[in-house]
Symmetry: none
Subunit: 226 residues, 2 copies
């Protein structure tokens, strides 16, 4: 399940958007202004942010800049709402790193298609200090993982393993590859070490253990969406 944060000062539009999102099965968060939006984003770490550019007080650009500066919100894709035909703003946004935009007024149906596409495309984007993927957040320096907001302490090996799995971006990691990348084994040692650590990792992940999927005869695959 994906969570979408909508930052929009016009009540009508805010409602229109959130209603449509909920109908599509997304969890929604709302913020009526820029300051609130940044706070929400940092607190809840949504999967996507729909951000109005024109807002009183802190405008969309300022919000976007703030988000880029925080490690936890950095990787989140942003869909920008601009006035119709406002090419200058659109280009400015795209150059700053906004993922996509929609011109107002927009068709709700089209917006939903965009949201769907964005979430699919940015399923796992690696950032510098932290690694995000779905409900998963890894903090490189503290060896901690946050899964759906809950903190999980990992050992060095477990962290490495999870990191390699996540950074593969959904690709299947073969046993050999994992042993090489995590342990540095060059020979295809016949060992149960990998299995053991996968097991320990799964234990700590609790109900999210299913995100680490076994592909018999091949290796393991990470998928944040259960």
């Amino acid at each position: 399940m994906h969570t979408v944060l909508v930052v929009e000062d016009e009540k009508d539009i805010l409602e229109l958007v959130t209603l449509n999102l909920q109908r599509q099965g997304y969890k929604t968060l709302t913020a009526a202004n820029g300051i609130e939006g940044v706070a929400q984003a940092k607190a809840s770490v949504p999967d996507l942010i729909i951000l109005d550019i024109m807002m009183p007080g802190k405008d969309g650009y300022a919000v976007f800049k703030d988000l880029k500066e925080d490690a936890r919100t950095r990787g989140i894709p942003v869909l920008m709402l601009t006035a119709k035909g406002d090419v200058a703003h659109r280009i400015a946004g795209l150059e700053l790193g906004v993922e996509d935009y929609m011109g107002k007024p927009f068709s709700p149906k089209e917006l939903m298609l965009r949201v769907k596409g964005l979430l699919k495309r940015t399923k796992s984007v690696a950032t510098d200090a932290s690694i995000r993927a779905g409900d998963f957040l890894l903090e490189r320096n503290s060896l901690k993982a946050f899964v759906a907001g809950q903190q999980i302490d990992l050992t060095a090996t477990e962290f490495k393993l999870l990191r390699v799995l996540i950074e593969s971006g959904g690709t299947v990691m073969e046993r050999d590859a994992l042993l090489r990348e995590v342990w540095g084994f060059s020979d295809t040692t016949m060992t149960r070490t990998l299995d053991t650590h996968v097991k320990r990792l799964r234990e700590k992940l609790g109900k999210h253990a299913v995100c680490v999927r076994t592909l018999r005869g091949v290796g393991y695959q990470f998928n944040p969406n259960v």
Copy 2:
């Protein structure tokens, strides 16, 4: 270096777009109508196609459909050009699987940004790791098949079998040949192994089971189009 095919009947726009692309360092191909466009795409297999929807004769939708039906052009991202504010067309296109659109008139600068983004996004998707044919998509490393978007888990042998069948490109594979290619059997062993695995494969393919056709006394043949 990326190659972009531009399919556009209006000479002015065609020139404007290709010129801008060339300035950005892209190789360009052009087509002044739909039929020419399809031919170019199949012959040259570009990395991206910019496709005008409104064209005399074969329109953009028809072109798009043709492209999706050919295994070689199937994975190429398409950027659609529509009339300004033409929401209905845009949605229709997006639902068909068009990657992105631009409303005319557009800013060349913005178009370039879109092109850049599209090529970047689809780079990681289109790899040799996957095999396409019609609605079938095989992922080499994960032993998964996607048929009409639906995920199917295969075992190693099933995967090999399906891969050999698909890669034969519609040719009939004789029993001997399959036993040799998939199992490495050199002697023409009289065995029911092949039949059993074909059956298991068909079970997993569900209603697409008919794509694996039996040729009594000869072997099996794969055909993605029902």
